[in-house]
Subunit: 312 residues, 2 copies
């Protein structure tokens, strides 16, 4: 397909659709704007989980069973960290570590996260642009009944067990968006803008909270299409449904559509879903949104493009 | 043996004798004062090659074929660094990397190199004290006909090929010695002090250049015994002989004895050597100093202790 696409994405779920789009679109026509609210510093290393999941997925070197990290990974580093008494709640494979060590080293030399990601993508032979939502650090803090917890500690160390009352994105006020992307959105240079089926609160909201993106999406004449992260009354993966319940929301695609109401022009939900265009207030497209095979990723990508074409 | 021993050591050659001493002495009776002039920062990591060689050797997890790093090592990190376009002249195994990442992270948290090394030694079950010559950074600069080169670049990247005209130890004026060791030397708390068969210029001189150690060694009543790094007219390993030639010295144990003349009370050379006590100006003990088996390391350690006992 000849269309140019911007996809807003978090990690795993979003990366699945990004892979589908990457294969359906012409080389160089996909731009992925990646959440960096999950980024953190561990062992003094700058870790960007969503960017890396996107890179590894598009380069087809991701560990699909695990859902994060690289395939054919080795674990000598972590084994030795444990031997030496280091913290072991966050797993880093030996190959994955190279990405993080090199990124950290280049950041210390003054390169931006965007420049480094571009370089890594080139080296990995990825013909798509993966852009951090900002070069400045934004850190998702999870507000819970047990107090504020940095995202990775909530997500990995605490296995999402604390009850969530809200989120804060530390650093967001000082963070600049990608001005190139904001301009391209405003000037309708993309044919389609896609909100991937990522967690709305911790993957997409951090992106939308950076001054510039949301305003541009509202202003843009390009159709903005969302894909629901909810199938039936549960999330496909991850804590989306749990968080929705804890925030007092009904776990449904309708709740997600409402959450995105300012920016969406169309919404894709699963065939199981009873959401109507009337309830959503925007056109709704129903299909199988469970992307558990490569074919389903491609199919959903193709259908998303077709649906978007009808909205234009 | 009930003696308390201080050994000044660089990496490989010194570590061999240190292993012999470790097995010959009672638990907790060996202190190794390690050269940190080889330390450097690579990928933003604080790397201490001599300390790590000593730790890995005493813990019997060193790669003996390779002469550095750990046994049963994996190399996924370096493979990925190359894939991502990172510098590949300095090899870091996946396990070795854990030591360096954890050390760097703990240094950033304000721990000293000495504290971190102590902690690592405990975790690795080493019942000897390995102390950095200083907690402050000292960096060996190699003065060559091609200009000044940081040590690891000279040693690893350039494979010791530039012609050496001298050495400088950057940071040495600000570096504090281990005051505990200086006091123990001055108050003759060790029964023997050993200058390991390390490179005199790049392994031992950095230690002696830190204000305190040399003065204490001269003052001490404890016998100071050196082991020659030269067998016949060549160095056992590494660039010692090449450097001696380039500095205009005769490659011989006599040259080494002269180099250490202020501090040595006795000198151990190979049976092949024709050095006499008269030439050396101090008692000379001849034995097989090639430590190519574990037994030879133990034997040389035992002989060193006996020779030292005769000097006391």
């Amino acid at each position: 397909m000849n269309s140019k696409v911007l996809a807003l994405s978090g990690g795993i779920g979003g990366a699945k659709l990004a892979l589908g789009l990457y294969h359906v679109l012409e080389s160089g026509h996909l731009t992925v704007l990646a959440n960096t609210g999950d980024d953190f510093e561990h062992f003094g290393l700058s870790i960007s989980p969503d960017i890396d999941t996107l890179m590894y997925t598009l380069a087809e070197i991701s560990n699909q069973d695990q859902g994060w990290g690289r395939a054919n990974e080795s674990w000598s580093f972590m084994e030795t960290i444990i031997e030496l008494g280091g913290e072991d709640w966050f797993n880093l494979g030996d190959k994955d570590l190279a990405t993080n060590v090199l990124r950290t080293s280049r950041m210390r030399m003054g390169k931006s996260l965007g420049e480094i990601t571009k370089e890594f993508c080139e080296k990995l032979g990825i013909h798509a642009e993966i852009l951090p939502m900002s070069n400045e650090p934004v850190r998702t803090m999870v507000k819970t009944l047990e107090g504020d917890v940095p995202f990775q500690q909530y997500f990995v160390r605490d296995q999402c067990s604390p009850i969530v009352t809200g989120f804060e994105f530390d650093g967001v006020d000082a963070a600049q968006p990608s001005h190139k992307v904001v301009n391209a959105i405003v000037h309708s240079e993309f044919d389609t803008i896609i909100i991937c089926p990522s967690n709305p609160f911790i993957s997409i909201d951090p992106i939308l909270s950076i001054a510039g993106y949301k305003e541009a999406l509202i202003k843009s004449e390009t159709p903005v299409v969302g894909i629901s992260p909810i199938i039936g009354s549960d999330s496909v993966k991850g804590p989306t449904a749990k968080i929705m319940r804890e925030l007092g929301m009904l776990v449904s695609s309708l709740s997600v559509a409402k959450h995105y109401k300012e920016i969406l022009d169309g919404f894709i939900v699963d065939t199981q879903d009873d959401l109507t265009a009337e309830d959503a207030g925007i056109p709704v497209y129903k299909t199988n949104i469970m992307m558990d095979t490569f074919e389903k990723k491609e199919t959903l990508a193709r259908e998303t493009m077709e649906f978007s074409g009808q909205l234009a």
